[in-house]
Symmetry: C2
Subunit: 609 residues, 2 copies
């Protein structure tokens, strides 16, 4: 990997890392609490270890302190196993065996439902052993599946710390009692196998980076932000995080949700994971525990992060960027088809019947509602709607739900809908719903303009002009035309033919007298960015006339076309041979360039609104 | 108000309203449950009434069914009074008298803390009476304050239904017992006054629209989205919604959070409010209650809304639009100062040392982290950073926190930061931190380019040129210059002078030979949108030469300037009097326009990336 700026200039820490360093310093002096001592492997840890790691849903990771120190995952495994059980055995089955209510009790309280005997939630030991038992029954290779899943969360191959596993097994009398109690009420069928899996899952070795990555995977809807691999289904993530929000930290569910507001889980090894859904994951490690069994500094760091960075789950004042990035009519946002003045006027006159939405972020309810509202509130019925989805990174049923209703709404007054730029699986049959799909916004805009012209009874373009009527020959006398026209070489081309290729030496202007052609940014042929579509009466090559050198774009015939070629050398000669004619031609060329400039300036003004 | 499209074309319901109609139809057949009957006013309600209203944080409101039917607010008043108590008596005081833990008990259970005797949360009657008692002690006119606050939430003057109030007072034996019990443990000091206020608050008359607006006010951080008036502080909203999330619906806190995931509160009159923070508020009314005292259809509607529209509080997969709307260098995003070719080249050569961020939405941690990361990951140190805040609608400490660190980070390698377009109170002393502030992105870009040129040892612009060296006179022979120059009228202007005003008849080209001038979109003088700044050697009036007619922009002298005026009439005469000279001038004009077109096309391509 290339050196970063920080490394080059000797500034070692980014502003975010500098913040984490400060956070570490703020709490490093707190040596209250005691390390867990029920097995020697936990008791022997250096109690001063302290690491913080923060990982975002788009793959960044920031660390401070002992973020590489190893410890065992312990109870932070519980949300992961709960998710795996939900995936493999189904929500209904799991919910019949373990509840989702906070107990308010310490982690090792038994907390079974007074009637059913089921553990009240999967974050206490009884609930976690039940989940392990569900896996033992439902999965062929429960340990293999579990390790594979944990590894997907962490983005690396995780392994069991055998010494810890053996100690846990030897000293876990209370957990053994719980397992057999669960067997007695038929919540767990094979208590010893469930216990063994539970002891193994608690003994998986991790570091702070792993914790933050696991948390970020949950924050990211189940997909590891660094590997792009899915560790758990998104609907299951919601259940995991809901339970973590109320049951993860043993203390009062209401107090944690109010004061920290992060779904979280602690482990007796001194780790804490915290999740801000859709944003980031936090991993903290510091072995000294408070009376509830939570890392003292881990809890303090979560509190401060939530407060300093405003990471609370409930952020009523939050204002994300709006889903509608821009909203225009086709008078303001035009296609690259160059229109004659008359067609421009016809489009402008009817433009209020069009709406061009560029959406960004997520196509969910908020976006659907914004589009729907903008259409309903317009003073005249909107007949042609283009929704550009190029910047949509995700759709959900909250948005897709409204597409059929939106189409019906438009159809009810003769309106039509088109999408452009979509690259996602839509889970919406656009064709069946009568919605047009375009690869590019540009072509959708062209459709919209053409439809508007058709509805106004106007042609979309001029199909042919007499050479003498061409824009570049305006104002010439009959005698001048007689002199010039024989010098212009006709060029015919079939649809799809290449008229000009980027890099070719530029030697002439083309006067289009019949058909249509399109200009594309070089390199990708007709899949490239369209720069212009021209029809009869229009000109190209006027920029290269000034700049000379090589062509900067590819030009393709869209139909059978007829052009007249006006060599630059001829124009240059006319400057001395027939300066009056030369002056007329230059004025006409100037007129073409000024019209393009007007158009480009209007587009710039709209785009930077 | 003007007719909406829907009214004009006879489509009565928007897609969102159509969805609510469907939701109403889906549940209207469910007549399970019983209306509350403990006072005649509640027992006498039409049990088939059913209304739904949804209000967004940006002021839209959608209704279906009996959304105008009146009922009393009952326990839905509890979150509002809790918030008022927190504001008036302080969090610490209130928290010493009422907890925040879910009880899992029905609304009329007493649920006091076993040690302190304090009610476990403010959503049960004991907690709500305690809050009323806090107001009675802390506020001069508790009823007046309460009604005023409730009215701010609803956006209209709310009033008490006296008949209900009298009945509540006559039959509220259990609540009276609770109040005196609270007196016995010193949680409430004046039980009768507290009770009276509590009965009155429960008797405030509302409809579904009010409920949705109240909920939307909470969703909007405490500001009523329709009136823009604040009903409650934003930090208090977080506490209200946290408690509603776990304690609002009497049933299991974990189950509600998992399956519906909306902070909510029900009332015995049959109303339910639900809040999706930052998004929307829901109000439902249907009088039949389930065994827990929640509206049967109200709960069902909340569940369906959450599921259908993906309104769950925990949305890990959610992808809001990114806070960085665009990121460019100054080679890609240039100011409106027109640069000479040489200066363009110097800017382009050093452009990778610049970063221009256009942010959108909220300047919080996510935005700050994205900016910080983009700078740290650049392959060379970024020396000049512009952050455009024009589209930032809100800042919070999660973002502001990082500004000093960002400045330090940049200063450590000689970098500088500028903001543009900010219209918010920043709570960050930019001047003290050495951050430049510009009104417009355009002027910030110009600063950035000028700094880059200065660091490269290049002049920002050409201060003067000999007339013969002017771009428009390139290629003219000495004889031609001798003929032409005397015909060009010199024009001198002082800084700030108006050279051209939009609407003036356009009659000449201006050749700038000394100083600088700027072109602005018409109407606002120098506060308008800058279209260009030109310096010596440049030209203006070339577009109007082609189009004729009136000037389309205002032009002001930025410094002492000297121009030469080339009348269009002279150019026109030259076409016949001296066509060779005419041709040369036209080619030069064409060169100026083509350069502008190139620039505009590059800007368009960048902006629409």
């Amino acid at each position: 990997m290339a050196q970063t700026v920080a490394e080059q200039v000797g500034v070692r820490r980014s502003p975010v890392e500098a913040y984490l360093d400060g956070l570490l310093a703020r709490h490093a002096g707190d040596d209250s609490g005691e390390v867990a001592a029920y097995i020697p492997e936990l008791a022997d840890v250096d109690p001063s270890l302290f690491g913080i790691c923060l990982a975002t849903v788009d793959g960044a990771r920031y660390e401070a302190g002992d973020s590489g120190a190893r410890f065992t995952i312990q109870s932070m495994s519980k949300p992961l196993t709960y998710g795996l059980a939900l995936e493999r055995a189904g929500e209904e089955f799991v919910r019949s065996r373990v509840g989702v209510e906070p107990s308010g009790d310490p982690f090792n309280e038994i907390s079974l439902h007074p009637v059913t005997g089921a553990p009240v939630n999967p974050m206490i030991n009884a609930g976690a052993i039940t989940c392990a038992g569900v896996l033992v029954d439902a999965v062929g290779d429960p340990l293999g599946s579990l390790l594979e899943t944990y590894s997907l969360y962490a983005g690396r191959r995780l392994e069991i710390d055998d010494a810890v596993y053996r100690s846990e097994g030897e000293t876990g009398h209370r957990n053994r009692a719980i397992a057999h109690l669960l067997r007695s009420v038929d919540v767990v069928s094979r208590p010893e196998a469930a216990l063994d899996l539970y002891f193994r899952q608690c003994s998986v070795a991790v570091d702070c980076r792993d914790l933050a990555t696991i948390a970020a995977t949950l924050a990211n809807g189940g997909v590891n932000p660094r590997t792009g691999l899915r560790a758990v289904r998104e609907d299951v993530v919601r259940e995991i995080l809901s339970v973590m929000a109320t049951c993860g930290m043993y203390n009062g569910a209401g107090e944690w949700l109010m004061s920290v507001g992060l779904p979280a889980k602690s482990g007796v090894s001194g780790g804490v994971i915290g999740v801000l859904p859709g944003r980031l994951g936090i991993g903290v490690f510091s072995p000294r525990l408070d009376e509830q069994g939570n890392s003292v500094r881990g809890v303090a760091v979560c509190r401060d992060l939530s407060h300093d960075l405003m990471l609370h789950l409930i952020r009523a004042g939050e204002r994300a960027a709006p889903p509608v990035r821009s909203l225009h009519t086709v008078a303001e946002r035009q296609s690259k088809r160059v229109r004659s003045g008359r067609q421009q006027a016809a489009i402008a006159a009817a433009a209020m019947r069009t709406a061009v939405f560029e959406l960004q972020g997520e196509l969910g309810f908020v976006a659907a509602e914004a589009v729907s509202r903008a259409l309903v509130e317009r003073p005249e019925p909107v007949e042609l709607v283009v929704i550009d989805l190029r910047r949509i990174v995700r759709t959900d049923r909250g948005g897709l739900h409204f597409l059929p209703a939106l189409v019906s709404y438009l159809h009810s007054h003769g309106g039509e809908l088109a999408f452009s730029g979509n690259e996602l699986e839509l889970e919406f049959d656009a064709a069946a719903a009568g919605v047009r799909m375009f690869d590019e916004l540009d072509t959708a805009l062209e459709w919209c303009e053409d439809e508007l012209l058709a509805r106004a009874g106007a042609a979309a373009y001029v199909t042919s002009v007499a050479p003498a009527q061409h824009q570049l020959l305006a104002g010439l006398t009959a005698a001048e035309l007689d002199r010039l026209l024989p010098a212009l070489e006709p060029r015919h081309a079939r649809p799809g033919a290449v008229l000009v290729r980027a890099g070719d030496s530029a030697e002439e202007l083309f006067l289009v007298v019949a058909g249509r052609l399109s200009v594309y940014a070089p390199g990708l042929g007709r899949r490239g960015r369209r720069l212009a579509t021209l029809s009869a009466g229009m000109t190209f090559g006027e920029v290269a006339f000034v700049e000379r050198g090589a062509r900067s774009a590819d030009v393709f015939a869209d139909s059978e076309i007829d052009c007249l070629r006006l060599p630059y050398s001829l124009l240059d000669r006319l400057a001395t041979d027939d300066p009056v004619l030369h002056g007329k031609l230059l004025r006409n060329i100037l007129g073409v360039v000024v019209a393009s400039l007007r158009q480009a300036n209007a587009e710039t003004a709209q785009l930077s609104r």
